[in-house]
Amino acid sequence: MSETVIQPRTYLSIWGVLLALLAVTVGVAYVHLAWLNPVVALSIAVIKAVIIMLYFMHLRNSPRLVWVFVGAGFAWLGIMFVLSLGDYLARQYLPKPTMWLP
C-alpha cells in the first residue's frame, strides 16, 4: 500500500521530536500561565498526535479516504464536546434571558 517505504532515519528523527515535545510540555507546566496552561499542554499533545499519525501510522501516504475517516472520528468528538460544553457554559456564565421579543 505505501510503496514509498519510510526509512528508519525518518522514524528516529520523529522519535526525537516527540521526546523533545514531551520535555517541553513538562517544562511549560511549571510556568504559571493561568488559563493558558491547558491550552499550551493540549496544543503540544495535538502536535504529537498528528506527528505520530502522519509518520508512524503512515497516514501521509494512505489514500485520501482514510484521511476522511480519521477526520470524521475527531469531528464527531468535536460535535459531542462543543454541544455538551455549550450547555454547561450557557448554564454558568450567560445570564438567564429575561425578554426576547417585545
Binding site: V5, T25, A29, Y30, A41, A49, I52, F69, A72, L77
Partner: protein, 212 residues
C-alpha cells in the same frame, strides 16, 4: 491467486486497502469511546478547577514523564518493526516486536506501581478515600476519572500485548512476506493509537497546574 487473499476479495491490493480502512474505522470508534471519558473529565474539571489542580499536583510527575517516554520508545520500535516487515527480514521484525512488548510491559509495571502508591496513600475513591485538603468529595472525582481513564488505557495496552504475542508467533512461522504484512501494519496502527491516547492523558491528568 495465492492463498493469502481471501475468497471475497479480487486481489491482494483490494484486501490490503479494505483491512487498513477497517482498522481506521475501528480506531474512530475508539476515539469516541475514550471521548466520552474525556468529556466527563472536562465537565468536572470546569466545575471544580481547584480541587482538580490540587489532586493533579499530588500525582508523581517523574513517573508520568518516564512512562510517556517509554510509550514513545515503544512506538518507535513498533514503527521499525513495520519497516522490517516491509523489508521482509523476519529476525529484525521479531526483535522489534519483542522490544515493543518489553516496553509495553515496563509501562504497565510503572502504572501498577503508581496504582499501588495511590492505594498506600488511601487515594482509591469510594469509602476508603482520605484527603487532607479541602472538599474531599470533589477531589475524589479527579481520582475517579484518573483510575477509569488510565485503567481503560492499561486494559487496551494489555490487549495490545496480546496482539503483539500473536504477531510474534506468526512471524516465527514465516507468515509475513514483503508483499503480505497487513496484520503487522494493523497491529502497529492499534499500538500507535493507544500511545496517542496516553499522549493526551498525560498532560490532562498530571500537568494541570504544576506552577503553584
Amino acid at each position: 491467486m495465492d492463498l493469502t487473499v481471501a475468497h471475497q476479495f479480487d486481489d491482494a491490493e483490494q484486501q490490503q486497502e479494505a483491512s487498513t480502512l477497517g482498522m481506521w474505522i475501528f480506531l474512530a470508534t475508539e476515539i469516541l469511546f475514550f471521548g466520552g471519558m474525556f468529556l466527563g473529565y472536562t465537565v468536572y474539571r470546569a466545575m471544580y478547577p481547584h480541587e482538580f489542580a490540587a489532586a493533579s499536583s499530588h500525582l508523581d510527575v517523574v513517573l508520568g514523564t518516564v512512562n510517556t517516554a517509554v510509550l514513545l520508545c515503544s512506538s518507535l520500535t513498533m514503527a521499525l518493526g513495520v519497516y522490517s516487515a516491509q523489508l521482509g527480514s523476519r529476525r529484525m521484525l521479531a526483535l522489534c516486536l519483542g522490544l515493543t512488548m518489553l516496553l509495553g510491559a515496563v509501562f504497565l509495571g510503572i502504572k501498577f506501581y503508581e496504582y499501588y502508591q495511590k492505594y498506600e496513600e488511601g487515594l482509591i475513591p469510594g469509602s476508603g478515600f482520605t484527603w487532607a485538603g479541602a472538599n474531599p468529595n470533589q477531589t475524589s472525582l479527579f481520582f475517579v476519572f484518573y483510575f477509569i481513564m488510565t485503567g481503560m488505557h492499561a486494559l487496551h495496552m494489555i490487549i495490545g500485548l496480546g496482539l503483539m504475542t500473536v504477531l510474534v508467533l506468526l512471524t516465527r512461522r514465516g507468515r509475513f512476506t514483503p508483499s503480505y504484512y497487513t496484520p503487522v501494519e494493523l497491529g502497529g496502527l492499534y499500538w500507535h493509537f493507544v500511545d496517542i491516547v496516553w499522549v493526551f492523558l498525560f498532560p490532562l491528568l498530571y500537568l494541570i497546574d504544576r506552577s503553584s
